[in-house]
Amino acid sequence: MAGPDHEPGEGEPEPTPLLELRGVTKVYGEGEAAVHALRGINLRIRRGEFVAILGTSGCGKSTAMNILGALDMPTKGHFLLEGIAVEELHADVLASLRNRRFGFIFQGFNLLRRTAAIDNVELPMIYAGVPRQERVERAAAALAMVGLSGREHARPNELSGGQQQRVAIARALVTRPEVILADEPTGNLDSKTSAEIMDLLYGLNHDSGQTIIMVTHDAEIADYAARHVVFRDGQVIADGPHTRGEAAP
């Protein structure tokens, strides 16, 4: 069920995709205990897409996401960023990629404890070497964008789950990354808050053309995405466009 815009005809010139997984295999462990998390994945993601990676627990979707975010490396195959093989890059270049080109949103928020919201948002800019004054301004602007003006100095334990995830989104956005990678972003939130977070992400993609890749097992959440990629047992079993309101594949 691959759509025509994803599988170009032979010889047809196709612009280099932003991200591409080419024959990616991921094996954890060795010998008989080896777990094959991914078994030869091919996936291309273009700029401006909002992709939901769906599948049941243990299907390999999170592993694929970690590889797409340069947090993990394929055992075999290639991960290409604008045509460049990422697995061949130096660790410091990978760090710089994670810092400038990817923004992560996690299920468990992953904010630094006992650290004010604004300091959490500033952190990626510290590693990017942004001067302090600019850091503060941009962090405050990012927090304002996710609707947290006035809570800049609240610590994570003083914020609700939804607010914490907003801080995490502000932190992901503040370096103006090309790709937002969200791993079950609403997994720890109630349905009302989930909807608010998803509206925020949807708006980012729809209004600003922000590329978003989101892993979820929840069809309701996946409904916000414009493309659904379905994983099962380490393989892609479905990949196609999705229109909001239609039943998930």
Partner: protein
């Protein structure tokens, strides 16, 4: 990223665990404080000792049996023959650069007056002893040549002995029994107070050396002789004269080493300085070991901290920290702990040194070099023992660190 920003991150992380950070520095605090206190004590003691030697008079020469050379305590000390009273007289008669010659032997004995009894330091001295030690008599008279020649049963007592035995009574003419020998008290020495080594210098009884030799020890050999040169610029001359004379008298052939030594005050000061210096170094080294132990304490806590903060490290790596940034942060944390411990240790060490100096009545010394070295050593220890945990943190793989529960 800038080092200053990393430093802020490191300080923030330490501040979040104020109590633990403070306790972690404790080992370094104690180590640095101990090093500084030992150094200050050693320097104070050295100054006190050399000062006391200087106060004995600048023209003083000390002649002792046993090898010369530069050895602090020559190996031949035990085998070398002691001096005779004739040596003393020969020096007095033949060395014209010498003004006074005295000898003193001492022994701890029991002294009895009335129904009171006490242990006291008994010294047998020759008449010039008073001149050479520059120690006058408060009441009565010193021992003279006549006492020395006759081996008279007369004695002088120190202030402490007087206070104990006589209180308000007049001690002159009283009879005290010293080591079962009845002696007449002919004088009381001026009060001297406590010496560097904490002994009461006034807890003393003096008697003629001849009496001391015949009645107390049964030997008329002399241990140490003290000589004062006629003037300061004749010290070297006096020394040479004495050496030549004694070599003759002790039949030491040309080319053979002396079995005695003649030291002037400067040499004695240097000798004492060497001894106290060695002691100071020894004490400071022991203290430095506690500094090392303090460093190991920092390493342990940093290792615990790395494990505990694995997830935090994962988050940092995920948002773009390089391995080097993580390494730098943890190294700076360890160094900060060590440096803060060093500063607290310096304050406590100087305070303690001041207290000890007052307690022992010694001059207060701020060991500037010692303080700088101790602080540098503390920070060095922080780096040394911080590297291992910091490397452990920097080597974490982002995805594994993030999954760590």
């Amino acid at each position: 990223m800038k080092t200053r920003d990393t430093l802020v991150l490191a300080l923030t992380a330490l501040w979040r665990n104020k109590m633990r950070s403070l306790l972690t520095t404790l080992g370094v605090v104690i180590g640095v404080a101990a090093v500084i206190m030992m150094q200050a004590l050693g320097m104070g003691a050295t100054e006190l000792v050399t000062g006391e030697i200087a106060s004995m008079g600048s023209n003083l020469l000390v002649i002792s049996p046993g090898g010369g050379g530069n050895h602090a305590f020559g190996g031949s000390l035990l085998s070398a023959p002691l001096f005779e009273e004739a040596d003393l007289e020969a020096i007095r008669d033949e060395c014209d650069a010498v003004r006074f010659v005295a000898a003193a032997n001492s022994r701890s004995v029991n002294a009895v007056y009335g129904d009171q009894s006490r242990s006291v330091s008994l010294q047998g001295v020759t008449p010039d002893w008073f001149e050479i030690r520059d120690w006058g008599v408060a009441t009565g008279r010193p021992l003279d040549v006549e006492d020395d020649q006759q081996g008279s049963k007369r004695c002088l007592i120190g202030e402490t002995v007087r206070r104990d035995f006589f209180e308000d009574q007049d001690p002159l003419g009283a009879d005290i029994r010293v080591h079962d020998l009845g002696c007449e008290v002919v004088g009381v020495l001026e009060e001297r107070g406590t010496s560097t080594f904490g002994t009461d210098q006034d807890d003393i009884i003096l008697m003629p050396l001849t009496t001391f030799g015949r009645r107390i020890t049964g030997s008329e050999s002399l241990g140490t002789m003290m000589v004062s040169a006629t003037s300061e610029d004749r010290i070297t001359e006096a020394k040479e004269q004495i050496e030549e004379l004694l070599r003759q008298r002790r039949r030491i052939h040309e080319g053979e080493d002396d079995d005695f030594s003649v030291r002037d005050l400067r040499e004695i000061q240097e000798l004492m300085g060497t001894v106290t210096g060695v002691l100071t170094t020894l004490l400071a080294s022991v203290a430095a070991i506690s500094l090392l132990v303090g460093g190991i304490g920092i390493m342990n806590i940093m290792l615990v901290s790395v494990t505990e903060r694995t997830r935090e490290i994962g988050i940092r790596l995920a948002i773009g920290a390089r391995a080097g940034d993580i390494l730098q942060q943890f190294l700076l944390e360890a160094m900060t702990l060590a440096a803060v411990g060093g500063v607290i240790g310096i304050l406590i060490g100087l305070g303690g040194a001041y207290g000890l100096a007052r307690a022992f009545g010694m001059p207060m010394h701020i060991p500037v070099t010692g303080t700088i070295v101790a602080f540098g050593f503390a920070v060095g220890v922080g780096v040394l023992f911080g590297v291992f945990p910091a490397r452990k943190a920097a080597r974490l793989r982002p995805i594994e660190a993030l999954r760590f529960e």
